[in-house]
């Protein structure tokens, strides 16, 4: 009987210890893209006494518990091999040239196919791969079909994020989306979980009221 009990105790201790180790080890591989991992200056939400688990930013790193599409490193294959390296880094196109609604609307939006065609009526590409990819865009445009882009930054429905507010506050796109100009294929570099949002909001002293985003 005693042996049985001690066996269970040892098992529990080992398992907890392992989980504990993981919790300590994971934050060490900290979120490189975000500079706002520290707990913010302004302590406490409006109703005090709600010490938040998210402050530790631990859960963010266990994307095994969450769906893949909401985890860092999510890099779905796109219907067109569009490269931000070519467009932004090489050809120096401003983000807002294509994502024009970001200063006007809560959504940054994917540009209309017409916007692509604005340049690609003339620019047909140099390499074979470029030529085939541009031809695909052209096909979509001529057929009047939308390009079925895979969403990279998937948010749950109960989050109302406003791009316009963040851009007008002087934030750059890269602060959340990472070094997009260097990405041949866009991937999710920030967890974009609530703790990650709140840590920045605390740091900047902006609203951390739930109703800012959840309604």
């Amino acid at each position: 009987m005693a042996r049985k009990v001690s066996g269970i105790v040892i098992f529990v201790v080992v398992v907890t210890g392992f989980i504990g180790l993981l919790m300590v080890a994971y934050p060490l591989k900290a979120d490189q893209s975000s500079s706002y991992n520290k707990i913010g200056k302004r302590a406490g939400v409006y109703n005090d006494g709600q010490a938040a688990l998210w402050d530790l930013n631990i859960l963010d790193h266990f994307h095994y518990f969450g769906p893949e599409a909401r985890a860092r490193g999510y890099r779905p294959e796109q219907p067109i091999k569009f490269s931000h390296v070519t467009h932004v880094q090489k050809n120096k196109i401003e983000c807002q040239f294509c994502h024009w609604s970001v200063t006007k609307s809560p959504y940054a939006t994917i540009p209309e196919v017409e916007v692509c065609m604005g340049c690609h009526k003339m620019v047909k590409g140099t390499s074979d791969q470029q030529k085939t990819e541009i031809a695909k865009v052209e096909k979509y445009y001529n057929e009047g079909k939308a390009i079925p882009w895979q969403k990279v930054h998937v948010m749950p429905d109960y989050v109302h994020f406003n791009h316009k507010r963040h851009i007008k506050a002087g934030m750059g796109c890269q602060e959340c989306h990472g070094q997009i100009p260097e990405m041949p294929v866009v991937e999710r570099v920030s967890s974009m979980k609530m703790g990650w949002c709140v840590s920045c909001h605390r740091h900047e002293g902006t609203s951390i009221d739930c109703a800012t985003c959840h309604y």
């Binding site: 709600q50 769906p67 893949e68 994917i110 196919v113 998937v154 109960y158 007008k168 109703a211």
Partner: protein, 998 residues
Amino acid sequence: MESKLVKINKRRKAEKKEGISRRSFIKSLGAAGAAGIAGCADNPAQKILPFVKGDTTQIPGVAVWYSSTCKECSAGCGIQVRTREGRAVKIEGNRENPVNRGGLCALGQAALQSLYDPDRIREPLKKVSEGGREIFKPISWEDAFSEVAEALKEEGYKAFLAGELTGTVADLWDSWCQDHDIQQAVYDPMQPVDLARASELTFGHYGIPKYNFEKAEVIVSFGADFLETWISPVEYARGWAAGRKPGNVSRVIHIEPRLSLTAANADKWIRSKPGSETAVALAVLKLLVERGNGKNLSESVINRLKKLVSKVNIEEVAYVSGIKRSTVLLIADYLHQARSSLVLAGGPAASKERPLGLFVAVNFINMVLKNVGRTVDISRMRKPRTSVRKVSELVAAMDKAKVKTLLVYATNPAFSLPQSYNFRYAAKKVSKIISFASHMDETAKLADIILPAHHSLEEWGDAHPFNGVYGLTQPVMRPVFNTRSFGDMLITLSEKSGNKKAAYGAANFEEYLKNAWKKIHVTSGSAESFKSFWLKAVERGGYFEDLEKHIPVRVSVKDEAYTVVAESFKEPEHDHGLMLYAYPSVRSFDGRAANRPWLQELPDPVTKIVWDSWAEIHPETAGKAGIKNGDLVAVRNKYGDLKLAAYITENVDQGIVAVPLGQGHTEYGRYARLVKGGNVYDLLQTGEDSDGVVLLGSHVEIKRLPGRPKLVNTQGSDSQHGRGLARTAIVAATAASHSNGHNGGHHAHQEGHHEIKQMYVQREHPVYEWGMVVDLAACTGCSACVVACYAENNIAVVGKDVCWQGREMSWLRIDRYYEKKGEELRVSFQPMMCQHCNNAPCEPVCPVYATYHNEDGLNVMVYNRCVGTRYCSNNCTYKVRRYNWYEFKLPEPLNWQVNPDVTKRTAGVMEKCTFCIQRINEAKDIAKDQGRLVEDGEIQPACVQSCPTEALVFGNLKDPNSRVSRLAKSGRGYKVLDHHINTQPSVTYLEDLKWEIT
């Protein structure tokens, strides 16, 4: 013996036929289980589809508003339609339109559910016989047009039966019918045609006058339910409320056999015996003439009136009507003393076999009181074209198999024409029925070919309710289905039929409309070009003249007016048999709104019953027949029978059985068909001297049937149990001439001010403290706000069974309380939503911090934190929290209406009124862009916006100059239950004001 394989194959075939079998059901259960497990780690990968071509008017994520005109009834209210990414998501009233000035009724707001009705006709259909059954098969527009064009070319009796069309499309329809040699008939059961005929007799002009309620000190209504459905309820409710502002309190006396919404809001509701209103009106006329009113009239008119009323015996009238002699004298006294007044007749009480007597008598009263030209404006009349007599001539011709082709648009006679006309039977003898219906209603079902028309939100058009108001209707989105504009169809058909006469100088209806508006441009005398005039009209929602401008009109009384009244003396005395009292309700109107889940789940403003059709019976009458509340009763006469649940109430006369119109569809759609019990129209009789549908006077018998159907009533208790929830200040009659309504007030506001020990830390609100004021004196209980809330906040419609369990989801409900003081019945309406308490009982009991108080004074509900303990709901004093027991999926395309700015809640989550936080956040966002704070009046929650009487006011309580702050401090203000439990709500109610009429 069959082999196993053969057996399996057979079973599979059977499954295919039947849809689902036990085996495949179990299989699907297994699959669902697997999906459930997968659900825990489901991949929310989504696609993001951009537009192909850009649209300069659309920014994804930003709403685009279109001004238009509501076509749900003939009132012609202006609307503004909010669209997101090309889909209409909300309809609101248009402030620019002088008819409604911003408010909009429940029916108008629910037009969205008609646009996205999953049971709409999706493409042109043709009836074919297949295997002995007649079914509709889709055909191409090309084929449909050529088939109809062929029918038009053929010789023979052709007739067109249409609903009440307005504006340019009516003109086009007229000339189209003339050019194609087609007989016209108009049928809309809701048109007060006899009222218009009476105007012709007494004033010399056919039409429905424009009533100026705001200018009347005393309003006497003989059955006209002007706050719910009568003619133009939003316009009238606004005028009524303007007259009831403190300092300007008008008095309303309502005479009707049933407690309608107007009766409930009146200062005095006088129960009359059905059919006796004419006698009462004549008695009042006699008393007024005796008191010297009518000196403004010409000698001959007044002399004839005197002679006419000399036969009236007040005692006899009192006996016939069941109204005391003193009460009749009281009505006359009030009218005689008032500086301005308004007398009305309408509704089912006035819709009799011989209705003209009452209408003419009421017109005479208005004439002797000098109301014509002041509160009764006959220079701005709407001229209804409905004529039941013409329709019945047409049906008679159909019955004799004379009619070769019948065209039908925007009317549903197979449902709403009484069975006594025998439309359904006669329709079988017509060789070809062509329908332009957009919904598969009972009439469309009879058609041989259907060319589905657009919904009014998808097409160009205009509305011309009365002189000086020209509302424009514009398409707010691309058509949902493969339908066409009715005007376009007429133009195309005349081209196809090769009719030489029919040249309209326009390729489509939009062009035709613009040509017609060129004339309006000329008459407007505008100095600007037509292009800018047109663009302005499109932006504003129409062209509106100054309605204060006086248009002189000559009044000439026709001889027939006197004879009609004289004849009404010969009317048989009040009959003691049981009469059917069919009344229109804002929930289903005449039946056209029956397939809209919002309206079906909307509690009836007075009875508070949802999802049903019922029979209101007086306890005495019910007792005689051995009927108890909730029993199944048969209401029958020779034309048909209804099987309804009995609703026993003292608020109807003993001699009537009141049943709401518009339920009991056999077609029209999945939601309409859910309400069983039969169609009330079937039982109605034909009118001898009426040109409308006769709603009163059909004799019926009632009989108890076995069974007790579910009758779902959302009002838990009719009594307030002395808790002072909805308070009324009764202003004494003696104070009438001086008081501004404050005398009788409870001054309840002070109650909360004495020192109370505070258990919680008091809230601080640095910038905003959102709050609301509800003026009960202006609230009519019309329930427009309830529908607005459903539309704005994606509130689930749960259906009858779930409502029966008390699990309806409305965030805003209107409580209705009765209070009896002697003979007098006082009815209170109280909109009840989350009170956003500063000491909210729901907040401390939430174990997961899903509900809390924020800096702006809002009681916030965070759906994603909620784990569904329901503690908050149990602890809520006001019972305004709603729990999602189930998740409801809307069928395509009804889900297109969903507001993308509000999270759709899932099962297991609590929800409640948020003060439309999405609108608050939007306004804050705009204010921040402009570097300022949110201004007063900038935020209008959906309920506030929709209110026809501006009974609801929203704003920042932190700002002492805001409208809401000033109103909250008024002497009439109080907070519900605050004095008992110190919840400190952010919603202040202002006491109702009622005049004591003695």
